[in-house]
């Protein structure tokens, strides 16, 4: 199988960057997209060229590192997948594949396909946790949680922080990420104690980082590898009203 990769090359943040085309041969349709990039990088090493910088970690769809914009979609042509779970069988032999880094003011390009997603870390640092004394794990049934509540919290907690929501959003909004993190904790009894402050601080940081407004296009929930619903954003908005008016 042969593909032409049209890849964004950028030495560092300050540089302008441009697309460069690579004709890559000896690919198989069973390769994952990241393996294809590995394969391309091996050929670049042999030629003595700088390899293409891209992020990855687990390669099994749970770490959220491999954020790449492929052929006009975050993580490629399928809904709800990560780049590492995208395989070359999704492309036709001879295709040209355009590969770009996430685009958002809050996600500056570090090099080639790698962007700095530390804006997400700073949002988490404003309340994406509960204040509790550390030590041995408490008895699991000390605080009883209904199955429906646990499931709802888990659906939000499934967010892997990949940034596809911001990448695909025409406004570069981080509303899906922030709402998932807020709702995950505010749904549970352990998180309720700091619920209002969490909403206040995390949304304030979201504003501070330069993300855009949510206009509910719904693109984020389609590109989210975990299929996190935009109803979470509506719920965050309700929590914001509550924190603003009653807290």
């Amino acid at each position: 199988m042969q593909l032409t990769f049209r890849i964004w090359r950028q030495e560092q943040f300050q540089d302008k960057g441009a697309f460069k085309e690579y004709l890559v041969d000896h690919l198989t349709e069973d390769m994952s997209f990241l393996e294809a990039l590995d394969h391309l990088n091996e050929t670049l090493v042999l030629k003595g060229e700088r390899v293409i910088a891209f992020e990855y970690d687990c390669r099994e769809g749970i770490c959220g590192q491999c954020g790449i914009f492929i052929n006009g979609r975050a993580h490629g042509p399928h809904d709800h997948v990560t780049t590492c779970q995208l395989h070359l069988r999704s492309f036709q032999d001879g295709d040209t594949v355009t590969v770009e880094p996430w685009r958002a003011k809050a996600f500056p390009v570090v090099q080639d396909l790698i962007v700095d997603r530390s804006a997400f870390d700073r949002i988490i640092a404003q309340g994406g946790y509960i204040s509790a004394k550390t030590g041995t794990a408490p008895e699991a049934n000390a605080i009883l949680i209904g199955k429906e509540t646990a499931d709802k919290a888990m659906d939000a907690a499934a967010c892997i922080g990949c940034g596809a929501c911001v990448a695909t959003c025409k406004n570069g909004s981080a509303a899906l990420f922030t709402s998932a993190k807020i709702n995950h904790l505010n749904t549970l009894p352990q998180g309720k104690l700091e619920a209002d402050q969490r909403v206040r601080d995390m949304t304030a940081q979201m504003e501070e980082e330069g993300f855009g407004h949510c206009s509910f296009t719904g693109a984020c929930e389609v590109e989210c590898p975990e299929g996190i619903s935009i109803a979470n954003i509506a719920e965050m908005n309700a929590r914001y009203w509550k924190a603003r008016l009653f807290a």
Partner: protein, 222 residues
Amino acid sequence: MKSNRLFFRKNMIALTGLFLCLFLIVHLSANCLLLLPQDTARGLYNAYSTFLRENPLIMVVAYALYASILVHVVYAVLVLIRNRKAKPVKYAVNLHKENSSWASQNMGALGALILIFIIVHLVNFWARIKLGIGAEVAYDEAGNKDIYEVTYTLFQNVYYVAFYTLLAIPLGFHLHHGLQAAFKTLGFYHQPGLQWLAKVSLIYAIVISAGFGIIPIVVYFQ
């Protein structure tokens, strides 16, 4: 607690948008009088218009309406500016049609078309009737200002008929996305309710768009 602009602006757009959605229902309901036979329509429509102009409550509502349009537009522009800044570099290839509706991606452009419509519409009716700009409005047999005649004359011009009818289409798309987004912005997150809301928004958009689109054509052929 310090107000968060990301929420405040969208809330203002949502609240004014919902008020405008309510207004459209009342406006369309009244305009349906224009579908009646000409003699009946003239009497009823003029009487209704006079009632509106002389009712102090409606005067307050009218100012709320002007303010809503203004606030809706101003905050939409502020939102647009911030959103552009948040996304300074566009993708070389972007297939957003595969993950979101066309209307949701183009609310600003649709809104701009509607604003052009509102301005023309205000010049056609509001400026003439309320401000007395242009030809003077006559009185009908009952002694009411003959607003029906203003409408009828306007829609004898085929270009105005086309303009009013065609611009009901972007209105429909804007309302379809706007109505449901407004509720979500204001914090409506009940899951089965959201599915219901999507259907209601579609029906609402079709009724309003088709209603306002058909009336000029019907009046033209009367």
